[in-house]
């Protein structure tokens, strides 16, 4: 399989308004194979969104390179669909128009674009909300519109920044299942940022753990050997799931505590980040 995204020695330092700089990410290497689902896990502020921005071509790395399917990326990554962490819908377009526009600007007819948009909205459970404007939607509904907006274009690479962040536990499960379903039908390369350890393991082929910032780096890489296709609800009951969970959590725990200025702590508390 070819490599969809290849970050080579990528570091990022932000210029600060006062003139100094903030070293967000130390040189890291990451490659995501075509069709591979990689979860990016790490304490808040460690640079997960930063790395997605690099892969999307929205930002150039301070050092290192980013290759997309073997080609050096300069400018926007046209092969990627990006689900942003923040609200990024166009407030002046309805949900349906927001989803359809990505197809329309690519040359699809208005009718075809809107048919596909409606179908995708139905998949994320929003068929009744197509004519709503973003401000009339709940946080979770907006996120699902954004998900539909990205998925409807069928990009080769999916960059997802906490796509299920503001959803309740049940919807989260349904959305994860939907995502997994769609991904199983047509395997794309996925970079998936999440704070939810369970979600990361249940969905991905590989979990990459980042250290706390500043100058964060990769401190762990775990391959998920659970069989596919997976049933998200059932996979959590497997012993292999629990072993991996404990392993990753022990790697992550101290980093999370560091972010809040707490001393590292031995012991096996479990939980989400």
């Amino acid at each position: 399989m070819s490599t969809a995204v290849h970050l080579k020695g990528v570091s990022v330092a932000y210029a600060l308004a006062g003139g100094g700089k903030y070293e967000a990410v130390q040189p890291v290497d990451l490659s995501v194979r075509d069709g591979e689902f990689v979860a990016l896990l790490g304490p808040t502020g460690c640079g997960k969104s930063t790395l997605l921005n690099i892969a999307a071509g929205l930002m150039a790395p301070s050092s290192g390179t980013c290759d997309i399917f073997g080609e050096r990326l300069s400018g926007l990554n046209a092969k990627a669909g990006y689900l942003f962490q923040q609200d990024a819908l166009m407030p002046w377009k309805t949900a349906e128009d927001n989803v359809a526009i990505g197809l329309e600007v690519a040359g699809a007819s208005r009718r075809e674009a809107h048919e596909k948009a409606r179908a995708m909205l139905a998949k994320v459970g929003l068929s009744a909300f197509g004519d709503r404007y973003p401000h009339q939607l709940s946080g979770g509904q907006k996120k699902r519109v954004a998900l539909a907006q990205v998925l409807v274009r069928e990009p080769k690479i999916l960059l997802m920044d906490e796509p299920f962040g503001p959803l309740d536990a049940q919807t989260r499960l349904i959305m994860s299942e939907l995502l997994l379903d769609l991904w199983q039908q047509d395997r794309k390369a996925v970079m998936f940022v999440t704070h939810d350890l369970d979600e990361a393991i249940a969905l991905s082929d590989r979990v990459v753990v980042m250290s706390a910032g500043p100058a964060s780096r990769f401190i762990g890489e775990f391959t998920v050997h659970l069989p596919r296709p997976r049933d998200i609800a059932e996979v959590r009951a497997e012993p292999a799931f629990h072993r991996l969970h404990a392993e990753i959590w022990s790697c992550l725990r101290d980093e999370v505590r560091k972010t809040y200025g707490l001393p590292g702590k031995a012991g096996a508390e479990q939980g989400a980040v």
Binding site: L76, Y82, F84, A88, M90, P91, K93, Y133, Q149
Partner: protein, 263 residues
């Protein structure tokens, strides 16, 4: 707690009644000063209302209303178009904006009244000198709003639109244009109001027709009743235009988070 429409309207009418009653009292009884002097300076509400009615009945006022309306519309359309085009241009070309910034500020700081005689000289005493006076007022409001609107599109919305595959032209059409338009519409009341001001001030300072001309004529012969009648008609005219603006903007701004209604 929101006040009911009926109660609000009642209170608003009460204010008007109060003002008229006060006006009536001081011009009919010598409470503040001698009735004759008071009437000379302030006329009486009754006379003013009668005058307004007779102006409409005999029909002399329609021509003036029409002229002022045409000037207002032209001033708004030309001023807003220029404001939109130049606002866009400045927002997309930072160098242009930086170079012209001090000049834009200087021009905007200039009180427009001083331009009226010059415009009369350049464009004659007909409607165009008034139209251009209105344009100088409307232009800056629309210009600043479009400039602001285009520049303040959230970065993430822009990044998202780009990731969705939009090129520059499509960004203009689907992102910058609606964002700018929202700002234009949110300042619609102000800019239309200024179009009226430009027209009336222009007429007042030199013309042969329009509401401003009517008021100026009455002042020239110390016809205080005429002045007040002119002002009353002008106020009605402005309210009417403002009401039309409200009707027009409503469907255009549905996407804007406003007051949330529950039933």
């Amino acid at each position: 707690m929101p006040i009911s429409r009926g109660k609000l309207l009642g209170l608003q009418i009460l204010v008007a009644v109060g003002v008229f009653a006060f006006w009536h009292v001081v011009t009919n009884w010598s409470v503040v000063g001698d009735v004759k002097t008071m009437r000379f300076f302030f006329s009486t509400p009754y006379d003013v209302i009668v005058r307004v009615f007779s102006m409409f009945m005999e029909g002399s006022v329609y021509r003036h209303l029409w002229i002022t309306l045409v000037e207002t519309i032209l001033a708004f359309v030309i001023g807003a178009s220029l404001g939109i085009v130049i606002g866009f241009w400045f927002a997309r070309k930072p160098l242009v904006a930086a170079v012209f910034d001090p000049y834009v500020k200087m021009m905007n700081a200039l009180p427009r009244v001083v331009l009226a005689p010059i415009f009369a000289l350049w464009f004659g005493l007909g409607i165009w000198s008034k139209v251009w006076l209105g344009v100088t007022l409307v232009f800056f409001i629309v210009f600043f709003n479009v400039y602001q609107g285009v520049r303040e599109v959230p970065q993430v919305v822009l990044a998202n639109a780009r990731m969705l595959g939009m090129n520059e032209r499509q960004l203009l059409r689907h992102v910058y244009w609606p964002a700018a338009l929202a700002w234009v519409f949110s300042s619609l009341h102000t800019s239309v109001g200024f179009a009226v001001v430009g027209a009336v001030v222009g007429e007042y300072l030199g013309s042969a027709a329009g509401l401003g001309y009517l008021i100026h004529q009455a002042e020239g012969v110390f016809d205080v009743t005429g002045v007040f009648a002119g002002m009353v008609i002008l106020m009605g005219f402005v309210m009417l235009i403002d009401g039309i603006v409200t009707l027009v903007e409503k469907p255009l701004l549905v996407w804007k988070p406003g007051e949330t209604k529950t039933v």
